[in-house]
């Protein structure tokens, strides 16, 4: 008998009586100060947040010395070339979660799946209208069960580690900084 069949048979034999699947919450209502709270929590998780209608100006101001910059905000395809030595990647976020500063980015807006991780610095551009209060609201809005991208990720802050004596170090193996530009 295959291992697959053995495992499934053993599980079927040993599983408990049917327990009900609970209904899920639909998510909290967005508060009036949602944008400010979202910006505050992004700072708490080690990122930076600005509210600006001109994203390019905000990015230029924060990263004036960035040499190799890849911007995918207009739906550009990955232009090719090495994935190493990228200073700055600018991506459009589809949705932001106020409770934890997480921003959903799916494959289609990345150009290449590795871009949000290989870059030295990451910028996510997000419309204030695309905020939800919590993760329940996020999944309700994204409807990933119907519209399932091959890859998508919630990003909350830059890469970080606390593996040496619990000391927080921003910039582990991934980006060393994250700037979120919130378009009003």
């Amino acid at each position: 008998m295959s291992s697959r069949q053995m495992i499934l048979d053993a599980v079927r034999r040993n599983r408990p009586e049917l327990r009900p699947l609970p209904e899920l919450p639909t998510g909290a209502v967005l508060s009036e100060d949602a944008v400010e709270r979202f910006a505050a929590i992004i700072r708490e998780v080690g990122g930076e947040a600005v509210i600006a209608s001109d994203a390019s100006a905000a990015i230029q101001e924060r990263y004036p010395d960035a040499q190799r910059v890849l911007s995918m905000v207009d739906g550009d395809a990955f232009p090719g070339g090495s994935l190493e030595g990228i200073d700055l990647v600018v991506l459009r976020g589809a949705l932001g979660v106020v409770e934890n500063g997480a921003i959903w980015v799916d494959e289609a807006s990345m150009g290449h799946r590795a871009l949000p991780f290989v870059t030295m610095h990451l910028v996510l551009v997000l419309r204030a209208a695309d905020l939800v209060a919590d993760m329940h609201g996020a999944y309700a809005a994204l409807r990933l069960e119907r519209d399932t991208p091959g890859f998508g990720v919630f990003i909350s802050g830059p890469s970080k580690t606390a593996d040496i004596e619990r000391a927080l170090v921003i910039g582990a193996q991934g980006p060393r900084s994250l700037l979120v530009v919130i378009l009003p």
Partner: protein, 455 residues
């Protein structure tokens, strides 16, 4: 057969008082952070109940969800493998590596591969393994196992990491700044990730309705590996299933807050299909889990989402260190999972607890860990695996507490002994080392009560 018991191994750890005190405080700090962030969520308790309900339901129909998950994963272009045990898991992974002609594997954090002892198996077969999570890399370079399921190198002081990195990454032997040490590891780790042929990750959640998996990380190493290497292998235990994508709303709110006090991990990666061009292999592992599902008193432990909150809060874990458990998963959750794998080897673990109940209070999926610890104690006792001293003491106590006559006599003897036994003798016992004996009362409560009432 000589197996080091938890008390023996814990004694060795606790001999270094400075380290023990630091370890205790470092973990208590994480517990305090967890409290702070969970109190900011008014519906926290409702979330725990929901999570427990979703996991309970999934386990009650796990076979059906596994089949649904597999069907969708295959339709998404994923290659699904099934492994009955650790040995088969390791063989499958070696087979994938050999099929590609790969000689190196880059791994991100996975407790399952620790459980299967994958690294030594691959190394014995000529494969170089690079653990790319910083904490995992530290313990790998030091030839150790992780001592914590979320913070693998929490038992290591920064000076020790500095000495290790001086040897391997050429930093100054005096360097002990965590920021500069992490930075020194960043270069070599990124180099390994950029050159990876095959990248292996664990799985936090597997979603039946889409066939996708979710991996929660902070360092970015898992995503660097899987989006750069042509082949991604993900190893998961059968208990990682959840029915719906939207269930993640509950679990992602609970996981990082319980684990590290973060509102969510830096990356919550949802992988559904392999990248093009590229391959995604999923290895679904049983290794004793289906058998555990058949133990009604203990099956609830399969709901564990590996946050480590029960480790951080446990007064015994904090003062004895993860290695003292001698099991892949240490701490309270390890103490209720491991006896199911090998009762004789792990017989001392259910006793590595004060039964204070704190682990159950912080568990995000409401596993009644203290109750299970208590039940495992009965099973260890019935199996005749208690140490002789404890067995005799328990029998005597049982007799004394079970009969009024013996209880009264026992009390008289105890009061007498309290006056007679010298304190140096008491200090020679494990119990008496840190304790002063009370002053013996002249009479028992019963005697006092009867005397006072008649007066």
């Amino acid at each position: 057969m000589s197996i080091s018991t938890h008390p023996e191994a814990a004694e060795a750890f606790a001999r270094d008082e400075e380290r023990t005190a630091w370890h205790d405080q470092a973990l208590w700090f994480v517990r305090a952070k967890r409290d702070q962030v969970t109190r900011a969520i008014p519906e926290w308790e409702a979330l725990r109940t929901l999570a427990s309900g979703i996991k309970g339901h999934t386990l009650s129909r796990l076979d059906e969800y596994l089949e649904e998950f597999e069907r969708h994963a295959v339709a998404n272009g994923v290659v699904v493998h099934w492994a009955a045990d650790a040995e088969e898991h390791n063989r499958i992974i070696l087979g994938i590596l050999r099929g590609r002609g790969a000689t190196r594997l880059v791994k991100s954090k996975s407790m399952l591969t620790e459980e299967c002892h994958l690294n030594p198996y691959l190394e014995a077969n000529g494969i170089t393994v690079v653990d790319s999570d910083l904490g995992e890399r530290i313990v790998q370079l030091n030839n150790e196992a992780p001592s914590h399921i979320v913070m693998p190198a929490i038992h290591k002081r920064k000076a020790e990491v500095g000495a290790l990195f001086a040897e391997h990454f050429g930093t100054s032997p005096d360097e002990d700044d965590p920021g500069r040490l992490a930075d020194a590891a960043r270069g070599p780790l990124r180099e390994a990730l950029f050159g990876a042929e095959v990248a292996l990750t664990g799985v936090n959640f597997a979603i039946a309705e889409t066939g996708g998996i979710v991996i929660c990380t902070n360092e970015g190493n898992a995503d660097l590996g899987i989006h750069l290497a042509p082949v991604h292998i993900a190893s998961m235990g059968i208990e990682k299933l959840i029915p719906r994508v939207a269930d993640l709303g509950v679990f992602l709110r609970l996981l990082a807050r319980s684990a590290t006090g973060q509102p969510i991990t830096a990356y919550s990666s949802h992988i559904v299909a392999p990248r093009t061009p590229g391959q995604l292999h999923l290895v679904i592992v049983d290794n004793g889990r289906s058998e555990h599902l058949g133990r009604p008193e203990f099956r609830e432990a399969l709901a564990c989402i590996r946050c480590g909150a029960c480790l951080n809060t446990c007064p015994v874990y904090r003062r004895s260190g993860g290695h003292s458990y001698g099991s892949t998963i240490p701490g309270p959750i390890g103490a209720i999972l491991s006896p199911g794998i090998d009762l004789a080897k792990h017989a001392s673990l259910p006793f590595a607890s004060t039964l204070c109940g704190s682990c159950g209070d912080v568990c995000p999926v409401k596993i009644d860990i203290p109750q299970q610890l208590y039940r495992w104690r009965q099973i260890v006792g019935r199996a005749g695996l208690l140490p002789a001293k404890k067995r005799v003491a328990m029998r005597l106590l049982g007799d004394a507490l079970g009969s009024q006559r013996w209880y009264e006599r026992g009390g008289r003897v105890a009061r007498l002994l309290l006056r007679m036994v010298p304190s140096w003798l008491v200090r020679r016992t494990a119990w008496g080392r840190e304790r002063e004996l009370p002053v013996a009362p002249k009479e028992s409560f019963r005697e006092w009560y009867q005397r006072s009432r008649s007066e």
